[in-house]
Symmetry: C2
Subunit: 267 residues, 2 copies
DNA sequence: AGACTAGGTGAATCGAATT
DNA sequence: GAATTCGATTCACCTAGTC
């Protein structure tokens, strides 16, 4: 099968189905998988979830029209089976010990930890992300102001490529200008990509607006991206291209060397 | 069956098994259930989890000797069945709509949301608690610096007794002087008891060192507590007694009236 | 300073089953 | 019976922010 493929700097992006693209990658191609799959959340009842994403995630006030996104209307069991499929496919293309980060909300959190393990990955923890501003308070209840990164690894993780310790909690305000309704802050992803050894390949098979790619490239890592919806694919490619063009590269993180992986390969 | 029973101010404490004490309470006796059950966590492998709590939750350096606590060495399935039992028993003694808060760690979080529902409660969300300082960093990993409050209610929650909106995330440093290895900060519990209408009855059937009771009494609520381990029962009673004695009662929270429940009962 | 952290890794060791 | 393998268990050591 052939997909539209865009190579921009150290980023390779495919417009196609996650599962199908994953099956065409080389084994060991992925040093870290960071994904934000459609949560299939957003309603207590099946009928609520089956709406188009535009109707489901309503924005009050100014109406910003965005294309609907695909894969967000499965019920919870179908969602689980589908995730297990692409997670399993991704595992086969991941370097042994490669880390996996997967966004989810509170409602899908337990399913997510299950399907991560069903897909063959080793579950290692949960990292909350405090969205602060984006809270819808409810009288007499706790606000749901956090989303979650469920993380794990492709089997045992050795510490030999590690360059430091990462926090277990992040606070970043949701960006006001978004091109995708579930778009994550670049700064959040800039922190998360540190789980990938410097110079390694970060993969995201549900790119959306491409924030993971932006963060990977900006931090001197390589990137493989997949997005099925052509309009978001174009948006992602444009954002990655803008990142490649303006080399306001971040300074290497504390103790990070851009060539850790190459050194390991050579030595 | 008879249990040791201590009445201290507005707090009634029982030394005994949670399930057995719950079955002796009157229906509707509980306005809010806030519990910190033994997580049965503490290791990647079954053997690790089966150790005594003293050996499992290691303290480096100076050895502070604390009594082991009971019920922390079930495997995950047994943990689930056991929780479903006492949660179901508690539901029968809870006022309709009463909120439930249940502490857990990342490893037991998915089980906890399952068994909360298995016990008949309605799952409503997850509230992370950032322990900040109490982090054991690990090279190349995300630290696990959060624990979680899984919360829900005894059926539909009406908003008529609600006095305000609660945050969906808390940051409190672990207290340095603890009498129980899993003791929670008083300030955290002072925030959480706000889920209970002012003047209502907060119950905690795994008191440990009694922090929930301290927070309930300090905020002008009533309290029912249960603890199976006599040494922790004594510690809890002493801490509650100290709280009752020094009436440095907190000012009513924003919009809180100390007599909301009484007013409802009278009118 | 030094203790503290609802740990995790990996090497060494022990034990039972198999060759 | 001695050697080997595999699994389970034990133990030293690592991490960094805060008190």
């Amino acid at each position: 099968m052939a997909f539209e493929k865009q190579e921009i700097g150290d980023a390779v992006s495919y417009c196609g189905d996650a599962l199908e693209v994953l099956e065409q990658l080389a084994a060991g191609a992925i040093d870290a998988l960071i994904v934000d799959p459609p949560y299939s959340s957003g309603g207590m009842y099946r009928g609520d979830r089956m709406q188009s994403t535009g109707a489901k995630y309503v924005q009050t006030g100014t109406q910003v029209v965005r294309p609907d996104f695909a894969g967000d209307n499965r019920d919870q069991r179908a969602y689980g089976y589908w995730c297990a499929l692409w997670l399993s496919a991704a595992l086969k293309k991941a370097r042994p010990g490669a880390p996996l980060c997967m966004f989810t909300d509170w409602r899908q959190l337990p399913v997510t930890t299950d399907i991560l393990q069903a897909g063959g990955w080793m579950w290692r923890g949960v990292v909350p992300w405090d969205k602060t501003g984006a809270v819808r308070p409810a009288l007499g209840r706790f606000a749901s102001q956090c989303e979650y990164v469920v993380w794990g690894s492709a089997g045992p993780m050795s510490q030999d490529r590690a360059v430091g310790c990462l926090p277990g909690f992040y606070t970043y305000r949701v960006e006001t200008k978004k091109e995708h309704i579930t778009q994550k802050p670049v700064n959040l992803l800039l922190d998360l990509v540190k789980i990938c050894p410097p110079g390694g390949v970060v993969a995201d098979v549900f790119m959306g607006a491409g924030t993971t790619g932006v963060a990977a490239i900006k931090s001197g890592r390589k990137f493989i991206g997949v997005e099925i919806e052509p309009r978001y694919f174009d948006i992602a490619c444009r954002r990655i291209e803008n990142t490649v063009r303006q080399p306001d590269m971040l300074p290497p993180c504390e103790g990070e060397q851009a060539t850790v992986l190459e050194a390991a390969a050579n030595g």
